[in-house]
C-alpha cells in the first residue's frame, strides 16, 4: 500500500495533474489558434484554399499526439518490462472500452493522410450531403445546404463509401436540367442553353473543366441537361439557379414552350 503524506501529495500528484492540465490546455489553445489562423489565411489563396486548409487536421494530430506523449512522460518512465505490461493493459482497454474512440482516431489519421476528402469539399457520406467544415480527431463536421451542422464519427470513413464532388478542387461540376415541349425548336433551345452556361458569372471553363449539353426525349418533354463547372463550389446552387433563370427568360422571349401533359395519341413530332 502506498503511503502518501499530504506534502508528498501536493508535491507529486498535484503538480503532475497541474502539468497535465497545462499541457492539455496549451495544446488545445495552440491547435485552435493555428486552425483559426490557417483557415482565415487560406481565404487569401482563392482557389488554392482547400489545399491550405488540409494542413489543419495534420497539425491537430501532431499537436495532440505531442501533448499526450508529454503527459505520459510526466507520469511514468517505463522500462522494457513495464512497457510490455503497459501495452498489454492498454490494448485490453482499447479492446473493451475505448474501441470506438480509437476507431475514430484511426479514421481521423486516415482522413488526414489519405485525403479521401478535405476541409471545404462537398461530400456525400451516407444520407448526408454538405461542405466539410472541420476534420477533428474523433469526428468530421459538415454543413448541409440547409445550414445544418452534422457531426459524423471518423470511423465511418472505414465502413462507408464517401463521395467527394470536387476532390480537393474549388471548382465542381453542376448539372442543370431544363425541360421543353416536344414541339419546341430544339436547336434554338440548345443554343440558348449553351450560351446561358458559358456567359454565367459562376461557370469556369478550362482544359479540365469542360461543359456539355445533352438532350433526352422523355414521354412528356425533351430534357436538356447541362454539365458545367462552377468556379467555386460554394456557389453551386446559385450557379444552377442563375443559369435556369436566364435560360427560362430567354426561352420565353423566343417562344420556346415548357412541356405540357400529352394524352396518348396526341404526341407531336419532335422538331
Amino acid at each position: 500500500m502506498v503511503d502518501l503524506t499530504s506534502t508528498e501529495f501536493y508535491d507529486e500528484i498535484l503538480s503532475l495533474a497541474l502539468d497535465a492540465v497545462i499541457i492539455f490546455i496549451g495544446a488545445y489553445v495552440l491547435a485552435k489558434i493555428l486552425s483559426f489562423v490557417l483557415i482565415r489565411f487560406s481565404n487569401q489563396f482563392g482557389h488554392a484554399r482547400i489545399a491550405v486548409r488540409m494542413i489543419v487536421p495534420i497539425i491537430n494530430i501532431i499537436i495532440y499526439s505531442t501533448a499526450i506523449l508529454l503527459m505520459v512522460r510526466q507520469i511514468v518512465s517505463l522500462g522494457t518490462i513495464e512497457l510490455v505490461a503497459f501495452s498489454g493493459l492498454f490494448g485490453a482497454a482499447i479492446g473493451f472500452g475505448l474501441k470506438d474512440v480509437f476507431a475514430n482516431i484511426i479514421g481521423g489519421v486516415i482522413i488526414a493522410f489519405e485525403k479521401p476528402f478535405r476541409i471545404g469539399d462537398r461530400i456525400t457520406m451516407g444520407e448526408h450531403y454538405g461542405e466539410v467544415a472541420e476534420i477533428g480527431m474523433l469526428d468530421t463536421r459538415i454543413v448541409t445546404p440547409d445550414d445544418n451542422y452534422i457531426t459524423i464519427p471518423n470511423y465511418k470513413i472505414i465502413t462507408q463509401s464517401v463521395a467527394s464532388a470536387n476532390a480537393g478542387f474549388t471548382e465542381m461540376m453542376v448539372v442543370i436540367d431544363i425541360y421543353i415541349d416536344h414541339s419546341a425548336d430544339l436547336d434554338r433551345a440548345i443554343t440558348i442553353f449553351k450560351e446561358a452556361v458559358v456567359t454565367s458569372r459562376h461557370v469556369y471553363i478550362s482544359d479540365r473543366c469542360f461543359y456539355t449539353i445533352l438532350t433526352e426525349n422523355q414521354l412528356h418533354s425533351v430534357r436538356l441537361r447541362a454539365r458545367a463547372y462552377v468556379w467555386d463550389l460554394r456557389d453551386e446552387f446559385e450557379c444552377m439557379a442563375e443559369i435556369s433563370r436566364r435560360t427560362k427568360r430567354a426561352f420565353q422571349q423566343e417562344g420556346i414552350l415548357p412541356p405540357r401533359y400529352y394524352v396518348p395519341g396526341e404526341m407531336p413530332e419532335a422538331s
Binding site: 483559426f36 482563392g46 450560351e195 456567359t199 458569372r201 468556379w231 442563375e242 435560360t247 427568360r249
Partner: protein, 349 residues
C-alpha cells in the same frame, strides 16, 4: 468606325514599329507567306493598353496598298456593322476583335458570322484581341483553329518605354540635363490594414510595415551600372508598369511635374477591398471588352442585379473610369485588376 482609344493612345501615327520589332517581323513573315499562297490568319493578343493598336497601325502604314484596316471601338451587335470591313484588298487588319461578341445570351451571332467569313474567305486576316477576351472565346469557339498564328505582345523594355513616352515631346521641349530628381518610395513604409477579430464586430486598423525591395535593387543597379538619371526614371517606370506602355504613360503623367519626375508620391492602385462576385464579374467584363457602355453591362447582368451600385463602387475604388459615355479600367489599376481576376478566376486561362 474609330480606333480603340484604350490601345490606340499608343499608336505611333505611321512611325516605324521599333518597340515591337520582333512581332512586326513575324507579321511580315506571315504576309510574305500569304503572297506565296500559304494563309495563316493571325491573332495579336495582349493585355489592355499593351500596344496592340500600335503594332497593327504600323503594319497598316507599311502595307497600305494591300491592307484594309478596321478598328472597332464598341460592341458590334449587328451584322450590318460587321460588313463594313468588306473590301477588295487581300489583307484585312482588324483591331479590337473583342468587340465582336457580347457576353450574354444571343451575344455571339456576330462573332459566329465573322468566323464563318474568315474560314470561307481567301483573304488574310490579321486581328487583335484583348487577352481576356481571347482566352474566353477560345474556350467556347476554339478560335485558335481559325487563327493558328498567335502573337503575344511582350512587355516593353526600358528603352521601349522611354521611346513610347517621349514620342509625345519634342527634343526642345524636354531635356534631361542631370540632377533630375527621382524620388523613390522609402524602403520601409507603414501601412494601415484592416483586421477583423472574431470577437469584435468593428475591424481594427493595425499598422503593418511594408518593405520596398525595389528600392534596394534599384539603388544597387544604379551604382553598378552608372545609369543616367533619364535611364533611371524610365527603368523605374517600366518596372512599376510591368512593361505595359499604357500604364507607363499613366505613371509618367502622374509623376511628371515640369521639370522634375517625382515617383515618390506615385501609389499603384491596389484592390485591398475584397470585391463580391458580381462586382468582380462586371469588372472582368469591362477588362475583357475595353471601353464598355452601361447598356451593354445591363445586358450582361440580364436583370439578375442592378448595375448602377456596382459601377459606383468600382469608380469609388478608383478601378474604373467613365470616358465618352463608356467605362474602362484605369490604366494604373490594370495590374491589380489582373491579379484579382486571375485569383477569382473571372478570367480564364
Amino acid at each position: 468606325m474609330t480606333g480603340d482609344s484604350a490601345d490606340s493612345s499608343e499608336s505611333m501615327n505611321g512611325a516605324p514599329c521599333t518597340v515591337f520589332q520582333n512581332q512586326f517581323e513575324e507579321i511580315q513573315d506571315v504576309i510574305n507567306l500569304y503572297h506565296s499562297h500559304k494563309r495563316e490568319n493571325v491573332a495579336v493578343i495582349g493585355l489592355p493598353y499593351s500596344g496592340k493598336s500600335t503594332l497593327i497601325s504600323a503594319v497598316h502604314e507599311t502595307y497600305k496598298d494591300n491592307t484594309y484596316l478596321v478598328e472597332y471601338e464598341s460592341q458590334i451587335t449587328s451584322k450590318r456593322k460587321l460588313l463594313d470591313y468588306r473590301s477588295s484588298k487581300p489583307i484585312f487588319l482588324m483591331d479590337g476583335c473583342q468587340y465582336l461578341f457580347s457576353r450574354h445570351i444571343g451575344g455571339f451571332s456576330v462573332l459566329d458570322d465573322f468566323l464563318n467569313d474568315v474560314v470561307t474567305s481567301s483573304s488574310l486576316f490579321i486581328t487583335t484581341w484583348n487577352l481576356y477576351a481571347w482566352n474566353y472565346i477560345r474556350r467556347i469557339r476554339e478560335v485558335e483553329r481559325i487563327f493558328p498564328r498567335t502573337i503575344f505582345i511582350p512587355p516593353l523594355s526600358d528603352t521601349g518605354m522611354r521611346q513610347c513616352i517621349l514620342k509625345d515631346y519634342t527634343d526642345a521641349e524636354l531635356q534631361f540635363i542631370g540632377g533630375v530628381e527621382v524620388e523613390l518610395p522609402s524602403f520601409i513604409q507603414i501601412k494601415q490594414h484592416e483586421v477583423t477579430l472574431p470577437f469584435k464586430k468593428e475591424p481594427l486598423m493595425v499598422p503593418f510595415p511594408r518593405f520596398n525591395f525595389d528600392r534596394l535593387t534599384f539603388r544597387r543597379q544604379k551604382s553598378e551600372e552608372t545609369l543616367s538619371d533619364e535611364e533611371m526614371v524610365f527603368r523605374k517606370i517600366t518596372r512599376l508598369a510591368a512593361g505595359n506602355p499604357g500604364i507607363g504613360k499613366a505613371i509618367w503623367k502622374k509623376s511628371f511635374d515640369y521639370p522634375t519626375v517625382n515617383l515618390k508620391d506615385y501609389e499603384p492602385i491596389r484592390i485591398t477591398d475584397p470585391l463580391i462576385r458580381k462586382d468582380a464579374f462586371i469588372l472582368g467584363v469591362i477588362a475583357m471588352s475595353g471601353i464598355t457602355s452601361k447598356e451593354y453591362l445591363e445586358e450582361v447582368s440580364a436583370l439578375e442585379y442592378d448595375i448602377n451600385p456596382i459601377l459606383y463602387r468600382l469608380q469609388t475604388l478608383g478601378i474604373i473610369m467613365e470616358r465618352n459615355g463608356g467605362y474602362q479600367i484605369c490604366p494604373e489599376a490594370i495590374l491589380g485588376v489582373h491579379d484579382l481576376l486571375r485569383r477569382l478566376r473571372i478570367i480564364w486561362e
